[in-house]
């Protein structure tokens, strides 16, 4: 039993963190507009193996596990990275599970890119998120995870995403049969990787808040010297510790198929989604007026928490999976 990352894993984390910090830092967002990630940068991500990391080597992937994949996506989430990175990584796993090796290869190489497809419960229509250069949709609703070509969605029209840095489309549902649904156990992977992305965001808002509390001076001292502020930061740290530990535990359970992986993965996203949301809103409050402005980062993390929290039918579905098991302790 050991939840501490190995030195190999630490190298993977370090490489991902340093790439994100250098090339796609969260600081890019206030001025980035909605141009998304360019083709060249996308190819760089592909060259690092990020889109087929958890796919077996004989299926065209890197042959690492969902644990390493989660560790990388946590670093992407930490910089409020593109949602299409998460969608594309999931799409590759779905394609592998469907036996579509050509699609795995195209996603792995960066030739194709997936956007998220969120279903609108009221009319069955879709919201397609982060669509720049995307030609594939990773649909994830209460029935599971599926793949469809973007062009299969009729009536596509641009809409403004709540996260103004993301290009989004509204579309009608594709014809039955145009979405290829992946085997049911893809959902646990989707939940786990979504949790990883959310955990990174939750840690980022904890760190932004803590750093700000050390330098922002009011009443002659750093605001972090007031318990109303320091305890808010402590609660963020508690949430992060909870969410990170749950993520690591669940990732190992999913990789090794032990301790009811469906339960653990659902619990991981329940906790991660709550903490990501709570930490983002706490950070906005702590930044005062600045927290209300587009130029400061907390709101990007809030929107990331909202969007990723909605995938797959949102918290209700995760909670149903958590309550459905008879016992949580295994043997």
């Amino acid at each position: 039993m050991d939840l501490y990352p190995t030195s190999d894993q630490e190298q993977i984390i370090e490489a991902a963190a340093s790439y994100m910090k250098g090339e796609l830092p969260a600081d890019r967002l206030p001025t980035a507009g909605d141009a998304g990630v360019g083709v060249g940068a996308w190819r760089s991500l592909a060259a690092m193996g990020w889109f087929a990391m958890g796919v077996a080597e004989d299926k065209g992937g890197l042959g690492l596990s969902v644990v390493e994949e989660a560790l990388v996506l946590r670093e992407v989430g930490r910089q409020a990275g593109p949602l299409s990175v998460l969608a594309t990584a999931l799409a590759a796993s779905a394609a592998a599970a469907l036996g579509d090796t050509v699609l795995v290869a195209d996603l792995a190489s960066g030739a194709r890119r997936a956007a998220f497809g969120l279903v609108d419960a009221r009319d069955g229509g879709y919201r397609l998120l982060d669509v720049v250069h995307a030609d594939l949709v990773l649909a994830w609703d209460t029935s599971g995870v599926g793949l469809a070509d973007l062009t299969a969605f009729p009536g596509r029209r641009p809409v403004r995403c709540i996260d103004l840095s993301l290009q989004a489309l509204s579309a009608d549902a594709p014809a039955a049969g145009d979405i290829r649904w992946a085997p049911a156990d893809l959902v646990r992977r989707a939940r786990l990787l979504a949790a990883a992305f959310l955990v990174g965001g939750a840690e980022a808002t904890r760190d932004l808040s803590t750093e700000y509390a050390k330098v922002r001076v009011q009443y002659g001292k750093p605001i972090g010297a007031f318990q109303a502020i320091s305890h808010a930061c402590a609660r963020m740290a508690l949430g992060c510790e909870e969410a990170v530990s749950m993520l690591q535990f669940a990732a190992v359970c999913v990789r090794d198929e032990k301790e009811q992986p469906d339960f653990q993965a659902a619990a991981a996203r329940v906790v991660a989604a709550r903490v990501a949301y709570d930490n983002a809103t706490a950070a906005m409050q702590l930044f005062g007026g600045y927290g209300q402005t587009y130029d400061y980062l907390p709101h990007f993390y809030l929107k990331q928490a909202i969007l990723i929290g909605m995938l797959g039918g949102g918290a209700d579905e995760d909670l149903a999976a958590v309550i459905s098991v008879a016992s949580t302790l295994g043997d």
Binding site: M1, S230, Q248, A267, A320, I323, T328, L329
Partner: protein, 399 residues
């Protein structure tokens, strides 16, 4: 171009929940012993009977070779590696074993402090008694005027020949009325302030001048006390560490508190929540409806369950870090904080599920009321948050 490294040659050794063959053998041995030895009779709630019950259980563990699982072997303990301590507490909880009860202070505070700072004579005299369940220890730290701010304590100790004469009062002293010895922290330098000038000593509770006044807990149980010391003469030979060094001795006590010791409570909580979910699936009344049919209740239970799973993961993560360092870090405060919060939340939901049963004082309601001490005892939630803010996050001191 940055590249991730290739497939991990260590394979599944990388981040895992697998226990070694030796650990699994240990688990089997512990499970089997516990199945045959965990007391089946109900633990008395109070008084001498409770003490006898807890001491008998401690003696049984001692005779079976299970006493002091974290204590070094040279002092009669098992000196188990952290992973096996974790396994022990997991198995103890799963077997329905009792918590330490009145043995807590001796095994988790007093004994470990003597191991860290005591003289050879003090160790030889006290440690075997603690392990065997012969003696009960209590903790004389908090005072009416010194709670979270422990360093403001004013109970006085005056050196008089080869004794220290103690006058003052301690409060919230669990099981003082059942204890033989007390770890007692007093101010021996009247001109000192704060952490300096304090002395940590072993006080024999039969010494003349000690008066114990019971304080009844909100569920009617008696385990708290206020203790009054009227010129109580404690031999200087009972001082642990040096006179005036009591604060550092007391801090060495506290750092023993935060290891795998929360595991048992946390497994019990997971079992409790699983049980609540089962109960919630049964018909509530003649209508045949269940609590799980109520979406608000189902969500509350599910959120609690996810948090309890995360608490377990947090404990594993913390144990993984503790395997790499000599002393537990400040992250133990995170586990304590979450455990207190989840115990209280689970009990609040339990109150809703039980309905009219909550009108009476019974096992369930006594337990419910007991959870209110979890966010105060052993350092309040607010103090834990100060520790996290300052020592985990590096924020400035707020007081």
């Amino acid at each position: 171009m940055l590249k991730v490294c290739g497939p991990n040659p260590a394979g599944k050794a990388a981040m895992n929940l697998d226990f070694s063959a030796a650990d699994e053998a240990f688990r089997a041995e512990a499970r089997s012993w516990l199945r045959d030895n965990v007391p089946r009779e109900r633990r008395p709630e109070d008084g001498r009977e409770m003490r006898d019950f807890d001491m008998a259980w401690q003696r049984r563990q001692y005779d079976g070779g299970w006493a002091g699982i974290a204590w070094p072997k040279e002092y009669g303990g098992r000196g188990l590696p952290v992973a096996q301590q974790l396994i022990w507490y997991e198995e103890l909880a799963k077997a329905g074993g009792p918590e330490l009860g009145v043995a807590l202070v001796g095994l988790s505070h007093g004994g470990p402090t003597l191991i860290a700072r005591g003289t050879p004579e003090q160790k030889a005299f006290h440690l075997p008694k603690i392990l065997k369940g012969d003696v009960v220890w209590s903790q004389g730290f908090s005072e009416p005027g010194a709670g979270s701010d422990l360093a403001s304590l004013t109970t006085r100790g005056v050196v008089d020949g080869d004794h220290i004469v103690v006058t003052g009062s301690k409060i919230w002293t669990s099981y003082a009325h059942l204890s033989d010895y007390q770890e007692l922290l007093v101010r021996t330098d009247p001109d000192s302030r704060r952490q300096s000038g304090l002395t940590w000593m072993i006080c024999d509770m039969r010494t003349p001048g000690i008066t114990i006044r019971p304080i009844h807990f909100i569920n009617g149980e008696h385990h708290f006390n206020q203790v009054f010391y009227d010129e109580v003469r404690v031999p200087i030979a009972n001082v642990v560490g040096e006179i005036g060094e009591g604060w550092s001795v007391a801090m060495s006590t506290l750092s023993f508190e935060r290891g795998t010791g929360f595991t048992q409570a946390q497994i019990e909580l997971a079992q409790f929540v699983d049980e609540m979910v089962k109960r919630a699936a049964r018909p509530r009344d003649r209508s045949g409806k269940t609590w799980l049919d109520d979406p608000a209740m189902a969500k509350k239970l599910a959120r609690l369950r996810a948090d309890v799973a995360a608490l377990r993961a947090m404990t594993y993560a913390s144990v993984s870090r503790n395997m790499r360092r000599d002393q537990p870090g400040p992250d133990g405060s995170l586990v304590k904080l979450l455990l207190a919060q989840l115990r209280q939340e689970s009990q609040r939901i339990s109150m809703e599920l039980l309905g009219a049963d909550f009108a009476t004082m019974n096992d369930d309601t006594a337990l419910y009321l007991r959870t209110f001490q979890r966010s105060v005892g052993g350092g309040t939630n607010e103090i834990q948050m100060n520790i996290i803010a300052q020592r985990v996050l590096g924020l400035p001191k707020s007081y």
